[in-house]
Amino acid sequence: MNLRSTAAVALLSLASAAAGFGLYRWWDARTPELAPAIQLTDLDGRPRALSEWRDRLLLVNFWATWCAPCLKEIPLLVEAQKEYAARGFQVIGPAMDNPDAVRAGVQRLGIPYPVMAGDAEIAQAMDALGDTLQALPFSVLIGHDGRILLRRSGEFTRAELIELIERHLGS
């Protein structure tokens, strides 16, 4: 094998490796990861695991009573819960706040979906679900198969939320 052929084979190997790596990244980025096993404490002191809602399209919405964008967003979530529950959509609302303030907030806002409260426990759950800012609101959409479909820091608009739910319930 002469020098030219050797160089061509080496280049071909490099190009194949690049193609393989590119395809791996492409495939990996399009395969959503499984949500971790997380357990949170609800307002009655009962442990609630995310796997409880495994067969539903689950929106985990982290919030707090001191967070104005969270309180602004919650009526949209309440409306979506009522509108899409029969089609398999479920919201849960872990709050980074003290349970008494959260109970009052749940009553005032008429939240019909399960709500949890805590401090370190909630921060750890946010971290486990891929939050990097520790800021609120933070939402994670989990598919029927337990895979994370979306992470979102900041509030949803009505149009964004409805488009998201329709897209994933429709598929």
Binding site: A8, G22, W66, C67, A68, C70, L136, L150, R152
Partner: protein, 148 residues
């Protein structure tokens, strides 16, 4: 033949790399928010006219709530801090909390403290981004050297 194969592989590789989103998940609809310590940059404490000045640089599009600021002496034990002197903030109509006072761009709080009580202060603050995100209350311990 080899050239054609090489060209195909390189093209395929480049296309696949270009098409893939970043490995660290780029969620749909996410804005680029700053980490809390970049949004609200707490500066070292300094003495000014017999008072300790604690100040923040606040990134554009972010604000701190006036009524969520708290100051206390961390060290030495038993030292007392006078009532903080805060500048007038911007009146802001919050859709949820109503009329509130907030600080943008910069905040300088002046704290009456005896020079003998130099040590450290515990500072608590909370703020949000205009784009619709709030950070939990932050507490930091700020060193206060003896005045020059």
């Amino acid at each position: 033949m080899i050239r054609a194969a090489l060209f195909c592989c390189l093209t395929l590789g480049a296309a696949a790399v270009a098409a893939a989103p970043p490995l660290a998940d780029a969620p749909v609809g996410r804005k680029d928010y700053l980490p809390v310590d970049d949004a609200f940059q707490l500066q070292p404490a300094e003495w000014r006219k017999g008072r300790v000045v604690v100040s923040w640089r606040i990134a554009p599009g972010y604000y701190l709530y006036r009524d969520r600021l708290k100051f206390a002496v961390a060290q030495p034990d038993g030292a007392r801090l006078g009532a903080p002197l805060l500048p007038g903030g911007e009146s802001y109509l919050d859709e949820v909390f109503g009329q509130v006072e907030v600080y943008r761009t910069e905040l300088r709080a002046e704290l009456p403290l005896s020079p003998a009580a130099a040590g450290s202060l515990r500072v608590t603050y909370q703020g949000c981004a205009d784009a619709g995100l709030c950070y939990p209350p932050q507490t930091r311990v700020v060193a206060v050297d003896a005045p020059p």
